[in-house]
């Protein structure tokens, strides 16, 4: 990890890896979409709408993964003062926010035919909504503080406190739901997932993971360039 503290070396790595990452993403997405839309069978209860799960669940997984990524990067930034760690955290946030939004929106689209309402306060959707707020708050902190160094430290604190809070929220909303909805807990496809449903889900999950990694690398590169740009502009202001 210390090797990549040098931005130039990291950028060279990103340049080398990027085409392969994109290729992998496209291939996995192609296979995943084929499996999801053509191969996977109808669900005996939900009919065709079960296919929404193949874009909803991977989005939710990535939403959580991106936040974990942010939290780990923030911890590394605070503890080890690794120069690229806070950029990695900053870069992950908009991506994570998009995945969270997709998880919420596709969740609603899945829920409407199933439960009859666009929104239910079940444990998953509620936790996802709070996660979305956590992302918005984190992104807002970066925009609210002018000095990047200061913004990085405060944002890191926000990310870590949010990370501690997230499992507590999930636990509390779960608990709240068992109090208020004892019977109607929704289980996707039953206690165990049928392989015909599991395979498309896993492939789409892998595809979304590849997409997330690719986008994250791209975003980190952008942040490195933006920081370099700012350094040059500040230096020019000094020269003048």
């Amino acid at each position: 990890m210390q090797q990549f503290a040098n931005p130039r070396r990291f950028l060279r790595l990103v340049d080398a890896v990027e085409p392969w990452a994109w290729a992998l993403t496209v291939i996995l997405l192609a296979i995943g979409l084929y499996l999801s839309l053509i191969v996977a069978p109808q669900d005996y209860q939900q009919g065709e709408t079960v296919r929404i799960m193949f874009v909803h669940v991977p989005a939710a997984w990535m939403a959580l993964l991106a936040y974990l990524d942010m939290a780990v990067a923030s911890a590394i930034a605070i503890i080890f003062r690794h120069p690229l760690a806070d950029l990695a955290a900053k870069a992950a946030a908009p991506i994570g926010a998009c995945f969270t939004f997709l998880a919420l929106a596709t969740g609603s689209l899945w829920g409407k035919p199933m439960w009859g309402t666009w929104w239910v306060w079940d444990a998953r959707l509620t936790s996802m909504f709070v996660l979305f707020l956590l992302y918005l708050g984190y992104i807002a902190i970066w925009h609210a503080i002018d000095d990047p160094g200061r913004a990085a430290r405060i944002a890191a604190i926000v990310a870590l406190v949010g990370c501690i809070n997230l499992p507590i929220i999930k636990f509390s909303v779960d608990w709240w739901n068992t109090l208020h909805q004892p019977a109607s807990v929704f289980r996707i496809g039953g206690p165990t997932l049928h392989p015909a449903i599991l395979t498309p889900l896993l492939v789409m999950g892998a595809a979304y993971l590849a997409l997330f990694v690719t986008l994250h690398l791209t975003a980190i590169r952008a942040e490195i360039m933006a920081r370099r740009l700012r350094q040059i502009e500040l230096a020019r202001a000094d020269e003048v």
């Binding site: 998009c98 929106a105 899945w110 986008l215």
Partner: protein
Amino acid sequence: MDLTAPHLGFVFAAYGLSLVVLAGLVLWLTHRNRTLARALRQLEAQRAPRRRAIGEAP
């Protein structure tokens, strides 16, 4: 896929929305990268002549 199934619109909406948002994200990030790279190239080109000039000064 059974094209006569009820609620098929929801499936298309979900996949369509996912496509739009993710494609938008990809486009925004790649556009940002290109803009920043161009700005950096311009600034570095402007600095290079000046640096040479400073180096040449006795």
